[in-house]
Structures are given as C-alpha cells and as structure tokens.
Subunit: 341 residues, 2 copies
C-alpha cells in the first residue's frame, strides 16, 4: 500500500496537489469541538482525556479530509508533567507558577515522568487506530525556548522579555532549563512515535524576539539536539520545525537542523523561502489566518500566491499560524477545494 | 562650522566612532523625567506643553551628550489632531475611539489641522534654540500602517489583527485611511522641519505581522510616498525609516525607499544587514534594550558585535527598540563610554 501523501511529500516527492492540514485545526471554529470542550471541564482536562482528545483530533479529518491529523494537546504539558503548576484561566491564556532562577528548580523534577503523560500516549494510540490509512498522524511539542519563556514568566509575554532578560543575566540557569527541556522533549516525542505518531512538529512560537546573539544558543542548537535525539531512536520519522518570526534566520535553520520540514509563518514571503531555503527542506505554510477569515478574493489570492511561489518544489499547504476561532467553516471548505483543485 | 557628526554620518561619511542616540531616550528610566512627568498631568498634556516637552527632550542630552535629540511626542498626535478621541490610561497604553469603516470617517477631519499641533512646533523651536550646535534634532511621526492599526483597533493589539482583517475585508476603506495619513504625515513632518527638525524618523512599529501580499501596499508604498513628499519640499533633510519586524523585507525597503537611514530592530543580525542592505543606506541600531538592562558582559558583547558587523560602513549606534523604564542609568553611561571608546 502507498504511503500517505503527507509522508511522501516529506520524503521529497512532488505531487500534483500538495498535502493540506491546518495548525490548530481541532479548535473553536468547529461547533462539534465547542460541544466537546464544554463538557470536558478545563482545557487540560480535555488534553488528558484520551477519549475526548481522540474525538476532537478526528473531527476536522471527518469534516475536511485533511492529509494529516495533529494530536490535540498543548505545549505546556511538558512543564506540567515536570511538576510545575500550570492552569488555563478561561479567556486569559495559560498561567504557570514562575520558575525564575536556580532556586526554583527544586519545585520541578529533574527528569520528565512519561507516566504522567500516559493519557496523551493513549490518545495517540486511539487516534491512529481510528484514522484512515491515508491520513498521517502528527505528534508535537513546544521548542525549549518557547516553553522556557512560559515557565519563567508564568504566562505569555510581549517579546518574552522576562526569559530574554534571564538569558543575559543568568545564562547558566537558562541553559540548565533548556537542557532539561531538550531531554524531556526527546523522551516525549520518542514515546509519541511509539504510540503512533508518524511525523513530529516542534513549535518555536517565539523565535521573533531572539536577537542574533541568542537565537543559535537558545533556539537553533536545542532544536538540532532534539531532532538528532529523536532520529537516533527513530531515524525514519520526519520532523517539521515551525520557528515563528525567524525571518531570514530560517535559511540557517533549514540548512543545519536535520529536520525534513520547515514551517513558514504568514509573514514569510513564500517566494523568498522557495528561492532561498535549502532545496532539501520541505516547506510548509503559510496562508495568513486572517485571509481565511475574510474569505473571497483575499483567500483566493493568498492560495494562488503560495502555489505560484512553490512552483515544482514539494510542499505542504498550511496556514501561517493557528486557525482563529471566528473562522467560518465554509471558508475552510473553500480553502480545501482551492488547494486541491 | 562643521555639520554635526549625526548629519555627516547620514550624508555617508565614515567616522572613527559612530554617532549615538537611543529610541525613547527621554523617558521613565531617568529620575528627572519622572519628576517632570508627575507634574505634567496626563501624557498628552506633556506632549502638548512646549516648555515641559522641551525640558524632557533636553534631559538625556545634558546627561549623556547624545549626538541627537528626538522631539518628545507620540505617534498618536496625528489621529488626535485629526479629531479622533485619544487618551492614555495610566499603565494601560493608548486608547482611541475606534474607526472601523467608511461610516466612522465622519468622526475625523478630511485633512490634518496643523494649528492643533502648534505646541509641538513651538517645542521644536525651543529645543533647537537650546541644543548645542553639534547635537542634531530629530522630528518624527508614526508610519501610516502603524497609526492606522491603532485607529482601527482603538488600542495596541497582538499582530494588529483588527487592521489586518480590515485590509482583507475592506481594502478601499483602509486605503483611504492610509492616504489620509500619508498626506497628514507629509504636512506634519514638513512643518517639523520648518520648526527646527534636521532629521526625520518614521516609526513603522508593526511591520512584522504584515504578510508579503500586504506589506508593499500598506507599509512600503506609503513610506515611500511620505519620503518623496517631504523631499519635494525639503530635499536636504535626511529621513530614517524604522520598520520593526520587517526582517528580510528590509532589503527591498532599503533599496527603494528614498530614505537615507534604515533602522534595525534588535532581532536583525547586523552582519546580515551590513552585508545585504543597499550600501547607500546608513544603518542604525540595534542593541537589544534588555542587554542594556542586564549590563556587564551582555552589554559589552552586544556593542562589540554591532561594531564588528558594521566594519567600515558608516552607521548610527542605537538600541533595537525603545529604552525600557527599568534600565539603570549607570548602564547607559557605560554604553556611551563603550560606543565612544
């Protein structure tokens, strides 16, 4: 039997139409998601409920037939499983009890307990069993810098100022935290593969604010370590790196990361990326999620521009960031038709 | 008599040490600023009080002998002078009564009234009269896209989603608003020159979230129009464009804008910029403001990296964004010594 289109593309095969999925495709824009979410309790309760996490992961596949499903979870399950207090206040985003220096490290474990994440792996097994063979299953985690910036600030912050200041003031502590997250991410991603994930995506949501003197040490080197660590155990599982806001630094990342896929955020010119980034990198992206909300000409022009830019380069169609809750479902249907036409 | 170092550099002359100023150099990190601010009333009251605006503009020059003073004001004086309701809630950032479509345009004027901005021009005259001859005086305004994003959302917003969605949904309205801001900015900047400004900086604070299909239309083309409009009346006044988050698109901006200076935010690799951007562009930047807060090795390494990257290219030393309130004054003194050593 043929490999799924998504995996063939990540192996470098071109195809008449690209595979398609959307970041945050299991989400609030879907009425069936909102229904499950309402009965799940808190957000983390949903992440840790294998039956419900499976259900919401499958919903967009049933509706749109995307080429890949992505595990419904959150990048903050790693700090949570390390023992940091993490909670999601309704309408406020995540909150954590901040870990601001070496002294606070006593409040978390020295290594990740995979047992605490057992419901995630159970969800992956259920999802893989339920998915059509042609649909790839993506596992994921957050990049160490992005996760560390939440762990240090205790919340999302503009330009990750608390963590960035820590990088200047207390580099030894930050390096230690990043190392812990690298090790944890490798263990977590490998276990995801063993539970059924066929592709892994690492979300570096906060590359934009890292200055040139820090991005290699805090983002690219840890990402490279995770890719190498995962590939040491699972050499054939492709990895996609989504480094939002990396801009021209994507060139260095694509050339050196060891990952098969490079995600493009919506601010990246796909023509620049196609012309500049390592030919071996499979690009993924990058429609502005707001063009999908707007629909009509904005949507059509956006899809056409990405298609034209990619030319004969194999690529994965995606948004340049997560789909927004106010996106009309009809616009997603139109996107699917446009990409597959 | 010699031209000030700042103007000579913008004219393309190299010098043994670069001219130096800091974005938001008149600000809360200075005790003497906080004293004036406390007695001024609201933030806009300070902007519109020529004596106090002059005083705070001069404070950092007296303390540090920077090569340029920048008018103390705010980019939102243009919407305010157009008749939009603008206020600064303590600790919350600016608020405006949103203008979300054509129908709301009746609430503002069809052209900028320079009379309402008379206190700004009076401040410039006083500042120029009080400044040493070797210190250049910078006037400024916000770029149309950045200002429009505040006018539409009524506040600062992550990724300027309301204005970006407007760009897709109601391009005719947004183009009309941008055109009004282009005309207003030209008139405002020209009047600033006539009141004593010797250099003009345009702040495009929000270039990062603009996708490739919008950045030319909403940011670069309007910036080019303003530069051309100002130069039609004042051909010898240099202009600096600070397009924060423009990343690799700076190359196109530098090659086509008609401006003498290109500001670099802290995320831009100065070595990339020096190697890539049009040789005629005078680069300005770009120390991470948090490296200045941290001081010590982070500050020294940051200064050394910029100096090494610029090589023999004439450049202006600055931060990559505004100085933060918690910056120790002693670190600014150290920065000045490092840059001038």
């Amino acid at each position: 039997m043929d490999k799924p289109l998504f995996l063939r593309t990540l192996a470098g095969q071109a195809s008449p139409t690209p595979p398609l999925w959307m970041m945050r495709q299991a989400g609030r824009y879907l009425p069936e998601y909102r229904e499950v979410r309402a009965k799940a309790g808190g957000f983390l309760d949903l992440c840790y409920n294998p039956a419900l996490a499976t259900e919401v992961t499958l919903q967009p596949i049933r509706r749109f037939g995307f080429d890949a499903a992505i595990l419904f979870s959150d990048i903050l399950v790693i700090p949570h499983a390390l023992g940091q207090k993490v909670w999601f206040a309704e309408g406020e985003g995540p909150k954590l009890e901040p870990i601001t220096g070496e002294a606070d490290l006593v409040r978390i474990d020295e290594a990740l307990s995979l047992e605490r994440l057992a419901p995630v792996f159970e969800a992956l097994e259920r999802i893989r069993a339920a998915l059509p063979a042609e649909t790839a299953l993506i596992g994921f985690c957050g990049a160490p810098w992005t996760v560390a910036s939440y762990m240090i600030a205790g919340k999302g912050t503009p330009d990750q100022a608390p963590a960035r200041l820590t990088a200047y003031r207390d580099p030894a502590f930050l390096d230690r935290l990043i190392d812990l997250l690298v090790e944890s991410s490798i263990a977590y991603l490998c276990r995801q593969v063993e539970a059924g994930a066929q592709v892994l995506q690492i979300f570096e949501s906060f590359a934009s604010a890292l200055p040139p003197g820090l991005i290699e040490r805090l983002s690219f080197a840890p990402l490279r370590c995770i890719v190498a660590g995962v590939k040491a155990r699972h050499p054939h599982v492709p990895v996609i790196l989504f480094a939002r806001g990396a801009g021209p630094r994507l060139e260095a990342l694509a050339a050196t990361s060891g990952a098969e896929g490079i995600g493009l955020d919506w601010s990246v010119d796909p023509a620049w990326a196609a012309a500049t980034l390592d030919r071996k990198a499979i690009l993924q992206g990058n429609l502005d999620p707001l063009a999908l909300i707007a629909g009509g000409k904005a949507l059509e022009d956006g899809v056409a521009a990405i298609r034209a830019a990619m030319g004969d380069r194999p690529y994965i169609f995606n948004l340049g960031h997560g789909i927004q809750p106010q996106t009309p479902v009809a616009h997603v249907e139109r996107l699917v038709a446009l990409v597959r036409s």
